[in-house]
């Protein structure tokens, strides 16, 4: 079956201008992402991973090329895309509930159906009792879950995770990425994760895109097929193929410290 991609990145290039000169961040990047896929983007630091994500989110316009989401050209932030920043960015002065409905508030969509949906998300993911708490009263892992629910509440089709777990400590990070993966799968969303953690990239994704160093181009795309029963990213790290992928991608990244 050859479906149409939900996100089509067509020949994107991006140059940043400054008085010192221009910096080419991305060069001729093309990528198709299909409904329900979980795609990880890895690459050496400064390769333009986050730039690519910002372009997909419509936050910045590429120098050339275009991004199509559901066949519509991206020209600014769209409600089809939800974005998760590096840190949870919960607003400290709003309680959990007010944080969760932030997106709905901004998009002026606080309808009864949407409110019920946000309530349901909080209930499903074990946070309903914390509705009236403030973010400072929650643990890092819980805050990250709230941040995900805030993104899901506006019901986007595509989630962009910009190093979304990098601010958490290692143990929490493993647990939260497990939870997030399960939630995203259950809600049947398409996800694009930018990370520099190879294990995280391989264990969470169906597809790992390796970018070259600056200016970033698509060096290789790996379809990830891990034979594991548990179907959680943490469990999948046990899969025999995991190490193979890890070594191959590691070599490809060509890291010199």
């Amino acid at each position: 079956m050859k479906a149409r991609p939900i996100v089509a990145i067509n020949n994107i290039s991006m140059k940043y201008q400054s008085t010192e000169g221009e910096v080419a961040a991305l060069k001729n990047v093309s990528l198709d992402i299909f409904q329900g896929e979980f795609v990880s983007i890895v690459g050496p630091s400064g390769c333009g991973k986050s730039t690519l994500l910002n372009i997909i989110a419509g936050l910045i316009a590429p120098s050339s090329g275009e991004v199509l989401i559901k066949d519509k050209k991206v020209s600014g932030p769209t409600i089809m895309v939800g974005y998760m920043p590096q840190t949870d960015q919960l607003f400290g002065w709003r309680n959990i509930w007010k944080n969760v409905v932030l997106g709905l508030e901004i998009q002026n969509k606080k309808t009864e159906a949407n409110i019920n949906f946000a309530q349901k998300l909080l209930r499903d993911y074990g946070l309903i009792d914390f509705k009236h708490k403030y973010p400072s009263q929650l643990s890092g892992g819980m805050r990250q879950r709230v941040a995900l629910i805030r993104t899901l509440a506006t019901n986007p089709d595509i989630l962009l995770l910009d190093e979304a777990f990098s601010a958490l400590d290692y143990q929490t990070r493993l647990v939260v990425s497990d939870e997030v993966k399960q939630i995203i799968e259950k809600e049947n969303k398409t996800a694009i994760l930018v990370t520099h953690d190879l294990s995280e990239a391989i264990s969470m994704a169906n597809k790992v895109v390796v970018l070259s160093k600056r200016p970033g181009t698509v060096k290789n795309i790996y379809q990830i097929n891990l034979t594991c029963n548990s179907h959680t990213p943490l469990g999948c790290r046990e899969a025999p193929e995991f190490r193979e992928y890890f070594n191959k991608i590691w070599k490809e990244l060509d890291v010199h410290a």
Binding site: A57, G58, P77, Y83, P85, Q89, F91, W93, R94, I106
Partner: protein, 271 residues
């Protein structure tokens, strides 16, 4: 985690720790009170024994007498009221106008850059030097005094609040943008609420500055208020009146500062 707090019994060590904490607290407070009483008593005795000349240094009992006199004449509250009113109007308007100006600078990077050197210079300039100009322009009444108080706190507020706005996490703004937020929404949902602590700390600074502005203003022009009493007392060599006014001033300033601290606690209870 917090479950431990719910345990009804506390360990002996913890009880001892709490007790020593409390003891220390009382020790500090006790010493503070003793210092104050000691100072007042020493002042009084020194005056009576002729170690110091109460005509120049005044004396607690004479201050008290002056206070009672002012109270009986009914002018005490009039003078306090005028000065307090001028100060409150000064720092509230300084904070509001300064914040509005900071919003304008945040809104337009161009304006912020253009105005930057002027603000830096205005900030460095001792605003009190503008006193005579204000009097000529506005006249010698309460309005000129309020203008003085406003002017003295305005530039600090603009710079402080604007830098607070600029320090709001850019990821927070990015998040709002991905939701499709307009600039007004970014201001309203993130910039302003995130800057409440900055605005309140500006308010705290402005309380102090406004007192300076008002007292200087009253020195220059007024016919009423605590600053007027101080200048008048100085001119006719009634040091009792000067000291009394200074003490009232200290108390009023402390009360006003405390009020702002209470306001802060009210606004920042989420922390």
């Amino acid at each position: 985690m917090p479950e431990n707090k719910l345990e009804p019994s506390i360990s002996i060590e913890h009880a001892a720790y709490l007790k020593s904490k409390k003891l220390y607290h009382w020790k500090v407070l006790g010493t503070q009170i003793i210092l104050l009483i000691g100072f007042v008593v020493l002042w009084e005795i020194a005056g009576r024994m002729g170690w110091i000349d109460p005509f120049i240094t005044s004396q607690p009992s004479r201050i008290w007498k002056t206070l009672v006199n002012l109270h009986n004449e009914g002018t005490l509250y009039y003078h306090i009221g005028i000065t307090v009113l001028e100060t409150v109007v000064g720092f509230v308007s300084g904070t509001i106008i300064g914040t509005l100006f900071a919003i304008y600078l945040w809104w337009s990077d161009f304006a912020a850059e253009v105005l930057d050197p002027y603000l830096v210079i205005l900030n460095a300039l001792p605003k009190i030097a503008l006193g005579p100009i204000l009097i000529v322009w506005i006249g010698n009444g309460s309005t000129a005094i309020i203008a003085m108080a406003l002017l003295i706190s305005l530039v600090v507020t603009i710079l402080g609040v604007y830098s607070g706005f600029s320090q709001v996490d850019s990821d927070m703004i990015k998040l709002l943008k991905t939701f499709g937020a307009t600039k007004v929404q970014i201001l309203q949902k993130a910039i302003l609420p995130a800057s409440v602590p900055t605005i309140i700390s500006a308010l705290k600074i402005n309380v102090g500055l406004s007192w300076v502005g008002v007292i200087v203003g009253e020195f220059l022009v007024s016919k009423a208020g605590l600053g007027y009493l101080i200048v008048y007392g100085g001119q006719v060599f009634k040091l009792d009146l000067v000291m009394t006014s200074v003490i009232i001033l200290a108390i009023a300033a402390a009360v006003m500062y405390k009020a702002v601290v209470l306001l802060e606690q009210l606004f920042l209870k989420w922390r």
